[in-house]
């Protein structure tokens, strides 16, 4: 972890308000100008268990969690037991209770009577808020900053609750202040002024995607709750009236995708969303969207599998399944954003692509993206123009003698009519069909229709944005990864840089700072040169670019959050390049920054 960064982790039982407290603290720090990345862990139950929320707070942008924690706020003994060994040298443990017998090695334990303080404020439920106050004091932030956030968080909960929580924060803060405890990590010394726009926000990739969906003119979202996709539905349900979209909770995921196909056929931009289990159920209908050439966006927020797996933990293990899901052969587009900003941007493109090419677009997230809090800068929050395309107008239909819904074209896409249009009659047919949509099992026609649908692939492949290469053109090591590993790899690359040379902004390639999506930095003269090829538009596979880069790479490292290295297999299948160095993680946890740094150093002979 760099000097200008601290990690704060709050842990306790489910029901203690761990995430709520963490988010309030994160937002307060964020408003002070620091970059914040929030990561939560919890088991699949509502009370008990072990829940944590960790914030990495930095002078600049930060997009990953570290294993080491500088301030550990333990609301129960379990947190002390499980997490104390991750407290860094010179770090602090805040704990309410008997600290005798707790061996902290290098860290310092501070006893804060959280229960007593919260009871004084009005109830033990506010214990998390007393802890917040204490943590805030330790990092040198003013009390008002956090009280403002508490006010926002509890604005709908009534005066009494608000007052209790505010008092608890104050009591926690003043407890350490009155004891003349010295703040340890004074983030005021980071010179945070003017580093960020006031309108930057923190949000999860799910929240970002939901915003993007509204901007893209999605008017129908059908889904069945499944972690970690569910919060998309929560956000859309909340906003459906103002955004004029309909959220339909179905009896199962099969019905969800079916209803989305129905709405899309009627001419409405429509989507469904689920996790791997639900997506497994959707696969037959996915093929129906394909053969009827219905524009459809399906969000698949992965969690560990197979079956129920670890329902609240993360994994990137559905890539090959998604690319191959459903029987038969048909074209599809697969997009996997790497963070919340990309989720917001790319989901808008997903709707456009689905409409232009009249096929299913599968949008991959995972628990880590869906439930971590990212910074989305004002600059990145952009609504794209909505262009409704691919339709045949009423006028054209009136002048055409015999409109054909599935007319063979060079591009593979045909202008579509929607039910209700005069002269536009069509059969949207799950049987393979002739140009009008009538069932046909005639051999010449079958081949024509298969070729028509697949004609789209070539054009799509040439039009999709290419994978982004971060870092120098020539590097000792080239990392390749997809989706959610983006932030942690980029942060690790920066850290390596920091440790080998004076901190240079130039070497730091995150787009939040450069303002550009691409950053092939040739001026970098560092000796530890690492580049990173990140794939978001994964299918059709960006063969040429990946092949060109990997063929030139001196040493390649594949990083994936799964057991079998699925992207690696795809790369071999599509380019013939066999990647030998694989760093795979499949314990339900995401990569932490130290792990990537360690792996890079290992491969670079450090």
């Amino acid at each position: 972890m760099g000097k200008n960064e601290i990690a704060i982790k709050i842990g306790g039982e489910a029901g203690f308000g761990i995430k709520a407290a963490g988010l309030i603290l994160g937002k307060a720090i964020f408003k002070s100008g620091a970059g914040v990345f929030g990561y939560s862990e919890y088991p699949s139950l509502i009370r008990g268990g072990h829940n944590t929320y960790q914030m990495n707070v930095a002078a600049g942008a930060v997009a990953s969690a570290t294993m080491g924690v500088d301030i550990l706020v333990a609301l129960d003994k379990k947190t002390v037991d499980l997490d104390k060994d991750y407290v860094t040298d010179g770090g602090i443990l805040i704990y309410d209770g008997d600290l005798a017998g707790i061996n902290l090695k290098h860290a310092e334990a501070i006893d804060v009577p959280l229960v007593e303080l919260s009871e004084k404020a009005g109830g033990i439920i506010a214990r998390n808020m007393a802890a917040l106050g204490a943590a805030m004091y330790l990092i040198g932030l003013g009390l008002n900053k956090i009280l403002d956030e508490v006010a926002v968080a509890f604005r709908d909960k009534g005066q009494e609750t608000m007052a209790m929580n505010k008092t608890a924060v104050e009591l926690g803060y003043n407890y350490l202040k009155n004891k003349k405890t010295k703040p340890r990590f004074n983030i005021n010394e980071w010179n945070l002024e003017n580093k960020k726009s006031e309108r930057d926000e923190i949000m999860t990739a799910n929240e970002a995607a939901a915003t993007g969906m509204i901007w893209a003119g999605c008017k129908f979202y059908a889904a069945y709750p499944m972690t970690p996709a569910t919060s998309i539905m929560h956000v859309l349900a909340e906003k459906q009236r103002e955004a004029n979209l309909v959220v339909h909770q179905t009896e199962d995921e099969i019905s969800a995708i079916g209803a989305a196909i129905g709405a899309a056929t009627a001419g409405v931009r429509a989507a469904t969303g689920t996790s791997g289990g639900g997506f497994s159920l959707m696969t037959e209908y996915l093929g129906l969207a394909a053969i009827t050439e219905t524009p459809l966006v399906v969000i698949e927020a992965q969690r560990t599998g197979p079956a129920t797996g670890l329902p609240t933990w993360t994994e990137q293990s559905d890539l090959k399944f998604i690319i191959n899901a459903s029987h038969g052969e048909f074209p599809r587009i697969v997009i996997a954003p790497g963070d919340a900003s990309e989720a917001m941007e790319m989901i808008q493109r997903a709707f456009g692509l689905a409409e232009v090419w009249q096929l299913p677009v599968i949008f991959i997230l995972d628990k880590y993206l869906s439930e971590s809090d990212f910074t989305v800068s004002d600059r990145e929050r952009k609504k794209q123009e909505i262009k409704r395309v691919g339709f045949v107008s009423d006028k054209e239909l009136a002048s055409l003698r015999n409109y054909k819904r599935y007319k063979i074209t060079n591009s593979g896409a045909s202008e579509r009519s929607v039910p209700g249009q005069k002269h536009g009659l069509a059969v949207f047919n799950s049987d393979d069909h002739d140009e009008c949509g009538f069932s046909s099992d005639e051999s010449v026609n079958r081949k024509k229709m298969m070729d028509k649908r697949f004609a789209k692939v070539k054009l799509i492949a040439s039009e999709l944005p290419e994978p982004i290469m971060y870092g120098p053109k020539e590097a000792e090591l080239t990392i390749i990864g997809w989706g959610s590993v983006k932030g942690v790899v980029l942060d690790a690359m920066q850290e390596i840089k920091k440790s080998s040379s004076p901190i240079s902004e130039m070497g730091y390639l995150r787009k939040e700072q450069t303002g550009q999506p691409k950053a092939e930095n040739q001026e970098n003269r560092d000796n530890k040169e690492v580049s990173f090829l990140h794939l978001s538009y994964i299918w059709p596979f960006p063969k040429k670019r990946v092949q060109a880069i990997l063929n030139k790479a001196k040493n390649i490292l594949l990083i994936e959050n799964n057991k079998t290295g699925q992207l690696g297999e795809l790369v071999r299948q599509e380019t013939g390049v066999e990647i030998k160095n694989k760093f795979l993680k499949y314990d339900g946890r995401p990569f932490f920054r130290e792990e990537i740094v360690g792996k890079i150093n290992e491969l670079m002979g450090q």
Binding site: I254, A266, A270, L288, P419, K422, G424, L425
Partner: protein, 283 residues
């Protein structure tokens, strides 16, 4: 019974059903109902299942969606929300409606969205050559039940009544005029309308023939039955099991606010129109 005008709903494809198949009667009744309700082909969105009856997707000139086996209702619901101006009808066999996709029947009835569900019930999986279906009588011998079906059949009308369908009826394809009347009422009804249609399959159901049906059915209207009481409708739905008589006609009709009427976002122009009229589609 095809009257002048109904042929406008014919496509260039002639039905491929076996001669004598009950699906012909349903097809005729359907087209006639559209004609008498002055529905134009482009105002109709028909969602067909997979099966013998489902093959009807090719024989009727409207907007047609030929869906997956058991999966008509979700598509129909989505289309109705997308464009509430459409007259949306889902059409399935007993296998698709009461087996593969029975959950959709229960829930769509519960939502009470304004669509019509027509089920051709021939007590067999006919397209796949006559296996037992969820409505096959106990003891029936088919290729998958060579020693006789050992499962109890489903009573579909009891299911949809219990689930909250606001219109429940039974028709007989051998009485197309009567069936047409039911279909018209079902379409006019605001809310989910379920019509179970007794459909002889001359190839795979040698027991429930036209003649067999004529001996057990009677028309509810001829017995001064008023279809406004759910309990009585349930009794009627069970009458065959209890008394060996099969009432046809409308068993239940109740006023209940529809799903789409409870969604304020759907007030005014349809979602599809709002999004597309700007580019000259549904303008």
């Amino acid at each position: 019974m095809e009257k002048m005008g109904a042929e406008k709903f014919n496509t260039d494809f002639l039905p491929t059903w076996c001669p004598g198949c009950g699906n012909y009667g349903i097809w005729q009744a359907l087209k006639q109902a559209f004609l008498e309700l002055s529905l134009e082909p482009h105002q109709l969105f028909l969602v067909y299942d997979i099966g013998c009856f489902g093959n009807g997707a090719n024989f009727i000139k409207t907007y047609v969606f030929h869906s997956l086996h058991g999966r008509t209702l979700p598509v129909a619901l989505g289309a109705k929300i997308g464009n509430k101006d459409l007259t949306v009808i889902a059409l399935a066999g007993d296998g698709g409606a009461y087996g593969e996709g029975v959950q959709h029947l229960l829930h769509t009835a519960r939502y009470n969205i304004d669509i019509t569900f027509l089920v051709a019930n021939n007590q067999r999986f006919s397209l796949t050559a006559g296996q037992a279906s969820p409505t096959t009588k106990e003891g029936t011998i088919t290729k998958t039940t060579p020693f006789g079906e050992i499962k109890k059949p489903i009573n579909p009308l009891v299911l949809s009544l219990e689930a909250g369908a606001s219109f429940v009826a039974r028709g007989f394809s051998g009485e197309p005029e009567h069936l047409k009347q039911i279909i018209k009422e079902a379409i006019i009804h605001k809310g989910f309308a379920h019509v179970d249609i007794l459909q002889p399959c001359v190839s795979f159901n040698k027991e429930n023939t036209y003649e067999w049906y004529r001996n057990v059915i009677y028309k509810l209207e001829e017995h001064r039955y008023a279809p406004h009481n759910q309990e009585r409708a349930l009794d009627k739905a069970r009458e065959f099991e209890l008394q060996g008589k099969l009432p046809i006609g409308v068993l239940y009709k109740g006023a209940r606010e529809t799903y789409e009427d409870k969604i304020p976002q759907l007030e005014g122009e349809s979602l599809a129109k709002r999004g597309l009229k700007g580019i000259g589609v549904l303008a």
